[in-house]
């Protein structure tokens, strides 16, 4: 476990170097032990293997060792923190950010099965594991909203309905696109160009950029203040799961480009579409109560994208670099 620092310290420090002990702690710790793992180390761990991406069987074997039981989490202290210790401003900021994840996890769960059809047999194992991960993450947020935030409902959709008013209108850009891309893949499951476009949005943008940025904001707040231990535990374990998803997704994109260099055009065109509507937000979300400024969130956002692309050897076209400099973070993930 590293020293507890301010939420944004890592932005100034730059990439960390993880020791073998830290990697072992992240990879092997049980759910109980996750509470003591630093979220910045887990996010660094996501990038650790991007330069030499693990194969799908390795990722599947990690899944078997790292899966956790969402029903083992005890949210009783989180309820005390939420109702008695956090300020109204902190709760409002937190829920405005977390709701994008509540809905995002559901989206990435249901839009992934079609991608399995055209995958290799080894990748199918990895995707099957990822679908189970995403289902578990959906339950995690369902429990958090019911038990901590206090939203009621007879079923999972009812709780999603209750949290939807906090979801920004800009959520539809990446997640609506994902839904339509999933339908495109459903109609033509072996269309490699459609799969690369889907993979760019799902694995690179939603999971690699949006999800890791939002995770960082809420988890570093929880760690900094010492609040919401079950949220921190479950969502940090979720981040560890995401490391496998991002690495598997980057492996897919990297292999697709190596096999057919013109696939880079599909990646670039998908990013152009995403970034075309990323220069605008529909709601003002106040990050300050969670220890962040707007500019720090934007910096985090850009760092996440650049690191993924640099590590897997994908260059950006100049016009995309320009669009990226104007992008506003969509507070959502999956």
């Amino acid at each position: 476990m590293t020293e507890r620092k301010s939420p944004t310290a890592v932005l100034r420090e730059g990439p960390r170097t993880l020791t073998e002990d830290q990697v072992r702690e992240i990879e092997q710790t049980s759910l109980d032990g996750v509470l003591h793992v630093d979220i910045d180390d887990v996010i660094e761990y996501v990038h650790k293997d991007l330069k030499s991406l693990p194969d799908y069987i390795t990722l599947y074997r990690r899944y078997l060792k790292q899966r956790w039981d969402v029903y083992d989490l005890d949210f009783s202290q989180d309820v005390v923190d939420w109702t008695e210790k956090m300020t109204e401003a902190e709760r409002e900021s937190f829920i405005a950010i977390a709701s994008g994840f509540h809905h995002g996890e559901r989206q990435v769960e249901i839009e992934l099965p079609v991608f399995m059809i055209g995958a290799s047999e080894e990748e199918k194992l990895h995707i099957a594991a990822q679908i189970e991960d995403e289902a578990r993450h959906t339950v995690f947020f369902d429990r958090f909203y019911r038990e901590v935030v206090g939203l009621g409902g007879d079923d999972i959709m009812a709780v999603l309905d209750a949290s939807f008013p906090w979801v920004s209108e800009t959520f539809v850009a990446p997640f609506g696109l994902l839904a339509y891309q999933a339908d495109e893949v459903r109609r033509n499951p072996y269309d490699e160009r459609a799969r690369v476009r889907y993979g760019t949005n799902y694995f690179l943008w939603i999971e690699g950029v949006l999800a890791l940025s939002v995770m960082k904001v809420t988890l570093s707040y929880a760690r900094w203040r010492g609040f919401l231990p079950a949220y921190y535990t479950g969502f940090t374990a979720t981040c560890r799961d995401e490391s496998r998803h991002v690495q598997g997704g980057m492996r897919y994109l990297q292999q697709a480009v190596r096999k057919d260099p013109t696939m880079i055009n599909e990646i670039h065109n998908t990013l152009r579409t995403i970034l075309a509507s990323s220069g605008v937000v529909s709601r003002r979300i106040y990050y300050e109560p969670l220890g962040w400024t707007d500019e720090e969130v934007r910096l985090l956002f850009r760092q996440q994208l650049r690191r993924k692309l640099n590590d897997v050897g994908i260059d950006l076209a100049p016009d995309i670099e320009d669009m990226l400099s104007r992008a506003q973070p969509v507070l959502a993930g999956g």
Binding site: E169, G176, L177, A179, Y180, R197
Partner: protein, 175 residues
């Protein structure tokens, strides 16, 4: 005065007026001005067209073969489309097209389709963003990446269309 029937030419006229006017003051109040500036920027240069298909339109009074108001195209169970054409920030064409109509072969830049029950849900207040995200309305023809560059504009317009007063036929049987 009774509201026009859903997917009638009278309704299409009301949709055209509503789209040209844009989202209501109430809808605008809940979102930042920069979002609406972006919306207006897209609207001002939008030159594409949408064929918005309604599948499984149920039969109802007023349809051919039924007594009632004239002007309802198509037959029960058929797919009927609302064709919306844009240019210079205004709707330049808004009409209904049903199989067999002279305009049925009209080509739109984007064709999107949705079941009747989801059209009715949109009219009853179901969120337009979730209508897209939950794949209730799907793009069945057109360039997906180009379409999504203007997705906020489309979603806000879809909400406007859903809000246009209309008489929606009752669903018969299991839905």
């Amino acid at each position: 005065m009774a509201a026009p029937g859903f997917l009638t030419s009278e309704w299409a006229g009301a949709v055209s007026d509503a789209l040209t006017a844009g989202p209501s003051v109430q809808a605008r109040a809940g979102k930042l001005q920069m979002y609406w500036d972006f919306f207006e920027k897209i609207k001002g240069k939008y030159a594409s067209s949408w064929a918005l298909v309604c599948r499984d339109l149920p039969g109802h009074p007023g349809r051919p073969g039924h007594p009632g108001r004239p002007g309802h195209p198509g037959r029960p169970g058929e797919a009927v489309s609302l064709l919306v054409e844009w240019g210079d920030g205004v709707v330049t064409g808004c009409q209904i097209a049903a199989p067999g109509d002279p305009g049925a072969g009209i080509h739109a830049t984007y064709t999107l389709a949705m079941d009747y029950r989801d059209w009715k849900a949109l009219h009853d207040g179901y969120d337009a963003q979730r209508t897209v995200m939950y794949r209730k309305m799907l793009l069945i023809e057109g360039d997906l990446l180009e379409f999504f560059k203007s997705i906020y504009f489309f979603v806000e317009c879809l909400a406007v269309i859903g809000g246009v007063p209309a008489e929606y036929p009752q669903l018969i049987g299991p839905s």
